[in-house]
Subunit: 76 residues, 4 copies
Amino acid sequence: MWKEENNTLYKRFQFKDFSEAFAFMTRVAILAEKHDHHPKWTNVWNTVEIWLNTHDAGNIVTSKDHALANDIDALI
Amino acid sequence: MWKEENNTLYKRFQFKDFSEAFAFMTRVAILAEKHDHHPKWTNVWNTVEIWLNTHDAGNIVTSKDHALANDIDALI
Amino acid sequence: MWKEENNTLYKRFQFKDFSEAFAFMTRVAILAEKHDHHPKWTNVWNTVEIWLNTHDAGNIVTSKDHALANDIDALI
Amino acid sequence: MWKEENNTLYKRFQFKDFSEAFAFMTRVAILAEKHDHHPKWTNVWNTVEIWLNTHDAGNIVTSKDHALANDIDALI
């Protein structure tokens, strides 16, 4: 579940290990470039946290964020 | 199943789409560097083909190839 | 230089090592998904070979191939 | 320059665009697995920030962190 707080969509993803986490990141990177919309994201070992908002709209959550969030969820 | 022919271990992997195939390739790339042993591999869309042999041993199949093949299989 | 032969655009890229070659492949993968046009490509250690043609046009070279080739060259 | 503060090695890397930043991340991912030592890292568009310390040593900076930092610097 993405959580909307402080004008940001946030979700935490957990994987078996680093390799699986980074494979997921590679797929999110491809999506980000396709959407021309890029996350703030942090990785530690098997955990990936993603924050989405729309800089050009004044750092609020827009339909661009929901669209990318949906496509990220479809990877899992 | 890896097939040994012409002094090479060969296997073909098929995925749902390009993104899934390339995520797999990223994980294999990480393994290859860990093993310090690198495949010949080809990708077209959702398909990845891998050929393994050991250059330093005269391009034959060695335990290095079987070890990498096993670790690649463990990704799936 | 891309070489057009047998209805395919072909180019060979050489890098310092596997890590540099695979970083290039990751950038090409991102471009391929953006173009919705995917190469046949092979990697061995520090070498990447790419073949481009357009399946939907009957496996000939089209403007889609030239466009992707140009964007790949711009990475270097 | 890596900065050591709060028992962590920290460095910020800036690239031309997202694609170049993510290619760097792929190379760092490969290094991390080779070292069996993984960073905390954050990416936003063309910027990558990396924090290193050693969990098993009680979250302080050890030679494992300096070794990984050196190998990351050698990528640039």
